[in-house]
């Protein structure tokens, strides 16, 4: 199988996001899997509490089982998926890559950036991480770097803003 670097230009120094981000994604994926299993498992629970129906019905077990299997596959893929997220700063552009099954590489010129967003939530905060999103005038630009260490995110924001101002171009 060809390497992920196949899509980007050769000789680019890709940097990965924080390995802690794997934990964040694992935790949130686990939580959402549990919640979905519970929601789809309502008929099973009702049957087990002998409120409604018979627990030996196969159809009652099918939806939560599918959700569970899907969730486990998802959990197994998360480490690879996070490791596939990368970025590389070049002289005038920022390169971003992501995805293992559906892969994409995006190149954003610094001079095109309109603003840089940093977002963080309670879970990300607990690991000292932040999400960084670049916005250009095009809505299609999907330049999102999740799970950067806080200090790195701040540095990147400062750096991107500085270079953006230097290389600013009109529409």
């Amino acid at each position: 199988m060809p390497d992920i670097n196949d899509l980007g230009p050769q000789g680019l120094a890709w940097r990965r996001v924080s390995p802690d981000y794997i934990k964040v994604r694992l935790i949130s994926a686990t939580v959402s899997t549990v919640i979905w299993v519970l929601i789809t498992g309502v008929p099973v629970i009702l049957a087990l509490l002998s409120i409604w129906g018979d627990p030996s019905d196969l159809w009652r077990w099918l939806p939560p089982a599918i959700v569970l299997v899907w969730g486990i596959i998802d959990l197994c893929l998360i480490p690879r998926r996070v490791r596939a997220i990368g970025y590389a700063e070049q002289g005038t552009e920022l390169w971003l890559r992501r995805g293992i099954i559906f892969r994409s590489v995006t190149v954003v010129p610094y001079g095109r950036m309109q603003y840089v967003d940093i977002k963080t939530g309670p879970l990300l905060n607990a690991f000292g991480l932040a999400d960084l999103t670049l916005h250009t005038a095009a809505a299609a630009t999907d330049a999102n770097l999740p799970g950067l260490p806080r200090a790195e995110a701040d540095r990147l924001r400062e750096e991107l803003t500085r270079r953006g101002e230097e290389l600013m171009v009109g529409l």
Binding site: S104, V108, G111, T136, A140
Partner: protein, 568 residues
Amino acid sequence: MSDSRTNGPPGTNALRPSPEGQWLRVHPLTPYVRSWLLIVALVWGVGNVFLDDVLSAVVYGDPLDVDFAGTVQLVGIGLVAAVLCGVVGLVIGLGVLSWWFTRYQITPEHVRFRSGAIFRTQRQARLDRVQGIDIERKLLPRIFGLASLKFDVADGGTSALELSYLRRDKARELRHQLLGAVREASRSAPATAGGSRDGYGHDAARPPVGAPAPRADAPAPAPWDHSPQARQYRTARAGHADNRGMSTPEEGSREVRAAARLGLLSDQDDPDQQRRVFTVPTSRVVLSLVLSWGTVSAVFFAAVAVVVWWWNPQALRVVIPSYLPVAVMIVSGLYNRLESSWGFTLSQVQVGVRVRSGLLNERSSTIPVGRVQALQVSKPALWRVFDGHRVKVITAGKGGVDDLEGLRSLVLPVGTPDNVADILELVLPLAEAPTELVRDGLNGIDGDANYTTSPRRARWLDPLTWRRTGFAMDDAVLSLRWGRLNRNVSVIPHHKTQSLGLQQGPIERRMRIASIHAHMITGPVTTAVHHLDAQQARDLMVRQTDAARAARERNNHDSARRSREEIQ
């Protein structure tokens, strides 16, 4: 209502300074024209109730006796007249009230529009952000000789500021003067106060014939001006740039051409000065509508109805009503197309092009060349009979999803290859029109000198069009082409691309192909091409990134030089 400010002598471009806070009113008929539907409904309702009884009273001499559905009875001519007068008076009164509170104000910096008696709304637009002022004439206002002014604002959201309604000649005059004010405002905005006016060569006389080199800030002739002076100006200008060691003669003339086309050099020319480039003849409009999917499906449905009728006339009673929604859809679609292509005229103005069209609702719109982001030429399958083309553009600041298919993005509803060539020359913010790329993009098949197409293995995903799907690139533009029956080509200037993406799904990866997407400002132009060889797509990405960087630098360099010249 007298209004001395907007009736300045012709030829003065700048709006005379006006005291802040002077509010002007729109045309008194405005509220009635705006709420014409309501008035029609009222007239209909009143007429329904009264007319019958009144007519019978007049004709047969019956006693007048108006019956409101049995609840209220009006007897006698006086009472009926009183009620009628009351209703009419109320309508007029509400209209006058609404008119009284609808005002606009034009200061050297802003245009403001205020309306509403109880719930007041005020909108404003900064004049230095105004991209264009368009006159819109819808059917009903047109009957009353009214028009509205629409302001395109660069930082604007979805809805533009609209001044409605003014008398038509007044709207035209106001537009003319406002354009002058807009240029004044946008000029003085970036430069320091005071310096800009003199620095821009307002008072600089035209260069005398035979002058060796005109001043850098002397007024340029319009790009379409082919008089000897204009030609001499251009040569002198090119040589001038050369002397300064800025660029080679070709580059100089290229830059001058581009700058002249962007309206950055000329100063004293009338901003409204137009040169008509083409008008789409009515016969071609009709032909384009006949050869459209709307007509084809209408014919198909009619044929089905005929067959059904022949088979069993009774069944028509079911079939015909079920056609109604489809018929409405087809007719409204065709009508929209008719409206946007009827009498379509493209003219060249100083900042770019101006398009005008409309059968019942006439609209016009200005497209500043410097803000055009991308262009797409399409050749629908049915139009290949008469070699018809459609051209759309993305223009920054002409946003609004509702406008995507509207007039503002359409620069050619149906036209000949010659029209397309004219448009490529006039609309794109490029020095060299990419005529060859577009021609090959529309007619070429398989890889050739310019285009690189999908690899043969992509035929499993793209059995019909893989030989057409492709891209071409030169120093200035990236060009994408696709579609076998409906042929399309889009042209994306490098210095207008925002970012670039490369995508690959699992099947594409197995087949070693990938898709490229140039991210642009939202608009009706497709800027993605699928199923390219992965290696070629990757190379394209790197090359495009380099070319876009170079194009941006070139552009920045140009604009820096221009601002230097302005300050001198």
